[in-house]
């Protein structure tokens, strides 16, 4: 297999992790919404925790993207 095609395939495989992180981010916001609808009065106070959970989940997707880019553009 040529190096260029192997790189493209590898980058595509590495990008699967972005989808997994998308599921994680959706879970964070979905569960927050569930809790917020049950107790709307307490929802605003938990906004920093929501963003923290979002950031923690999102970072892994960004890592997957960085790995994909490194594979794609590495010489």
């Amino acid at each position: 297999m040529e190096l260029a095609s192997a790189q493209v395939i590898g980058a595509g495989l590495a990008a699967i992790g972005v989808g997994a992180a998308a599921a994680g981010v959706g879970m964070v916001f979905g569960n927050f919404l569930q809790g917020a609808l049950r107790n709307p009065a307490a929802a605003d106070g938990q906004f920093p925790r929501l963003i923290f959970g979002f950031a923690a989940a999102e970072l892994l997707g960004l890592m997957a993207f960085a790995v994909a880019m490194i594979i794609l553009y590495a010489r």
Binding site: L3, Q7, V8, F65, M69, L72
Partner: protein, 255 residues
């Protein structure tokens, strides 16, 4: 480059010298130019917002709202004594916010290519190292070597403690890396996406026929992504400030 095509999404992140040679340490690059622009914009924003009118105008309301939001965030996550760390938290927040917003502006129509300062890991990495050094300095200044008890969890059996302590230590060491990686990758990925789909618009027009459909779809998509990019830019600035204040909280209050 591995992929042979006319689209070159990496070109927009190139640092080019405006005055001087790129090899010399005194080169004035496009990154430096846009940092100057950011400095001017932030200074103007804050000066216009700090006129202390009795009935706040729009600028003053915006500036007061930003400062108030960051202040309440710092106070809730560190405590009332955390207000002295507000200058760094607010500076990093407003710098990342303005850099992300200015980098997303469509000045390229007029021929001026806005350089997104935060799309270089050197910039965000140095900012996160400053945050990390503040955490280390505050921790060792306030608690001395007792600061190391941050890695020693409470209320669990000793065997588990021995297992958790190295994990805590590694996660502490990874913090500056992950903190700086987040705003950098968000801007990097978003701008690559915008560049690629912006090229698809032009290529669709050039192809003609059914290419026009592709162009229109890509145009709608780029518009949507641009709006998303503004949201992501604000969220990343907020996340940087929030995580910085949470890490400082660890150093001040030691769990």
């Amino acid at each position: 480059m591995a992929v042979e095509s006319k689209i070159d999404p990496m070109h927009q992140f190139q640092i080019q010298p405006i005055f001087g040679d790129l090899g010399s340490p005194f080169a004035f690059t496009n990154s430096a130019l846009w940092m100057m622009v950011l400095l001017a914009l932030i200074t103007g924003f804050m000066i216009l917002g700090m006129r202390r009118e009795l009935v706040p105008g729009r600028w003053q309301a915006a500036a007061e709202g930003l400062v108030g939001a960051l202040d309440s965030m710092v106070v809730t996550s560190i405590g009332p004594s955390g207000r002295k760390y507000l200058p760094w938290v607010f500076s990093s927040f407003i710098f990342i916010l303005f850099a992300n917003f200015v980098g997303s502006m469509p000045f390229a129509i007029t021929g001026v290519h806005p350089f997104t300062v935060t799309s270089q890991f050197t910039v965000t990495g140095v900012m996160s190292i400053i945050s990390f050094l503040i955490v280390l300095g505050v921790g060792f200044w306030k608690h001395g070597l007792h600061f190391l008890s941050l890695f020693w969890p409470k209320g669990m059996p000793v065997g588990l403690k021995l297992l958790i302590a190295p994990i805590e230590f590694i996660s502490f060491l990874v913090r500056p890396f992950s903190l700086g990686l987040r705003p950098f990758i968000a801007m990097f990925a978003g701008h690559i996406l915008l560049d690629v789909f912006g090229n698809f618009i032009v290529q669709g027009f050039n192809a003609g026929g059914s290419g026009y459909v592709v162009s229109v779809l890509c145009f709608l998509f780029v518009t949507f992504i641009n709006a998303l990019e503004l949201l992501v830019g604000a969220i990343q600035a907020y996340v940087f400030a929030l995580l910085t204040s949470m890490y400082i909280n660890d150093a001040v209050n030691l769990h």
